[in-house]
């Protein structure tokens, strides 16, 4: 929210907390945010079998969810979506 929307920190925390349905203090609590990130598919610590499993979105997968949950443009998501649907005519 800062880097692309230019939000000051307090405003950014309020915005994100509201979108996630948590308090701003919850954003600082890793025990809460572990569950929140899993619920919304926002990615997290890579620890196979302990923290993340095959059903947890990672990397670009998570960024799709971040863009949707926060309603913020994410350039790489737009690019991935465009590239994944791009068809080029075959030159024979």
């Amino acid at each position: 929210m800062q880097i692309t929307r230019g939000m000051r920190l307090a405003e950014a925390k309020d915005y994100v907390a509201a979108r996630l349905g948590v308090s701003t203090l919850d954003l600082s609590d890793p025990t809460v945010m572990l569950d929140v990130r899993k619920e919304f598919g926002l990615g997290g610590i890579l620890e196979s079998g302990e923290i993340t499993d095959v059903g947890d979105p990672l990397g670009i997968e998570a960024k799709f969810n971040i863009a949707a949950v926060l309603d913020v443009p994410v350039n790489c998501v737009s690019r991935f979506r465009d590239m994944a649907s791009r068809r080029r005519p075959v030159q024979i």
């Binding site: 800062q2 880097i3 692309t4 920190l9 203090l25 600082s28 990615g43 610590i45 690019r79």
Partner: protein, 344 residues
């Protein structure tokens, strides 16, 4: 007899000072900062809080729970362990970076321009496996456009010869070359999927360097309305190597962080990073008090997030290639607590 507190000097040396000496340095530091940039001194309550931070022998300190700030970085990793993509993953996974920055080892826009196609390949792959906002950064580095590295006469050589007009003309020519290169690289990296572009050490070669940065930001913003644009300064004060350059009617020579931030925001930046220099001959308490005094007007008036540059020799962090964590955490916490920063 007062107990001794282990603290550090601006060059990283470990020393012992009494609480009274630390308090005296805090007061002297804020007085020095206020005098230098004509800003108000820190209040008694703020100095009391800084004294609590610095008059402690604990190895580490941190902000209060709930006061955490965003951590942004310039080039992530040393490019010595694994690939550059691994570097980005390490920063995200192990170092808790809130933003990641891919960079070319020759960390300037002029050399990066020549290898942009290869940077694009790495960037698009890195975007698949990272979650934090990932951008690309380099330095405007206006000096690279001068002979023998570039086509423009070297104004550092012209100035001592008294060739002021020629020196200014050379800087003006370099401004346009640098701005064009920065915009080119930004365009190419946007195509590869970046979330932000970073102009690091803006103003390093003086007011012309800062102008090139501002013009580049303005042009990038016009072309990419949603792109994050981060600018980090090279020093606390814009040197007037040219002396007469202006942006939007404001003369650039002599600007302090408050006005640097205003122009950066006006140009279209989304994050501004002031850089306040460290005096290696003074204690970190002195340096932090001075740093906060100079940065505070900028933070209070900010319309965009302010991420104080904290690193080797800036932001109260000792000028050492591996600044000790005990000093870095104190400088960081002090900055967050007093300035109510948006990030570091």
């Amino acid at each position: 007899m007062e107990a001794k507190i282990r603290t550090r000097m601006g060059d990283g040396a470990l020393v012992e000072m009494t609480p009274s000496e630390i308090r005296a340095d805090l007061e002297a530091g804020t007085q020095a900062g206020a005098k230098r940039c004509k800003a108000p001194e820190l209040s008694g309550a703020e100095l009391d809080h800084l004294a609590e931070i610095f008059c402690s022998n604990s190895r580490f300190t941190g902000v209060d729970i709930g006061d955490e700030v965003v951590l942004s970085f310039d080039g992530c990793g040393s490019q010595d362990l694994g690939t550059r993509i691994h570097d980005l993953q390490y920063y995200e996974q192990y170092l808790c970076a809130d933003s990641l920055e891919l960079y070319h080892h020759d960390y300037s826009y002029k050399p990066a321009k020549a290898v942009t196609a290869f940077e694009q390949v790495v960037m698009r792959q890195a975007q698949f496996v990272t979650t934090a906002p990932l951008g690309y950064g380099a330095m405007p580095d206006l000096g690279l456009y001068t002979v023998p590295d570039g086509p423009v006469p070297n104004w550092s050589e012209l100035l001592p010869l008294g060739k002021i007009a020629e020196s200014r003309a050379a800087q003006e020519e370099a401004v346009e070359l640098a701005a064009a290169d920065i915009v080119f690289v930004a365009d190419e990296m946007v195509e590869a999927g970046i979330e932000f572009i970073d102009l690091d050490t803006a103003g390093a070669a003086g007011d012309a360097d800062f102008l090139a940065s501002l013009l580049a930001i303005e042009r990038i913003r016009a072309r990419h309305p949603d792109l994050g644009i981060q600018i980090g300064m090279a020093g606390e004060f814009v040197l007037g190597m040219h002396g007469e350059l202006e942006y939007d009617g404001v003369r650039l020579a002599g600007l302090w962080p408050l006005d640097q931030m205003r122009l950066a925001a006006r140009a279209g930046a989304t994050i501004f990073g002031p850089a306040i220099n460290v005096n290696t001959g003074r204690s970190i308490a002195w340096n932090v008090a001075r740093t906060l005094t100079i940065a505070k007007p900028c933070c209070e008036a900010a319309t965009i997030p302010v991420h104080l540059n904290g690193g080797m020799g800036v932001g109260g962090v000792p000028m050492h290639v591996t600044p000790a964590g005990d000093a870095t955490c104190r400088a960081s916490r002090a900055a967050v607590d007093i300035l109510r920063l948006d990030g570091l």
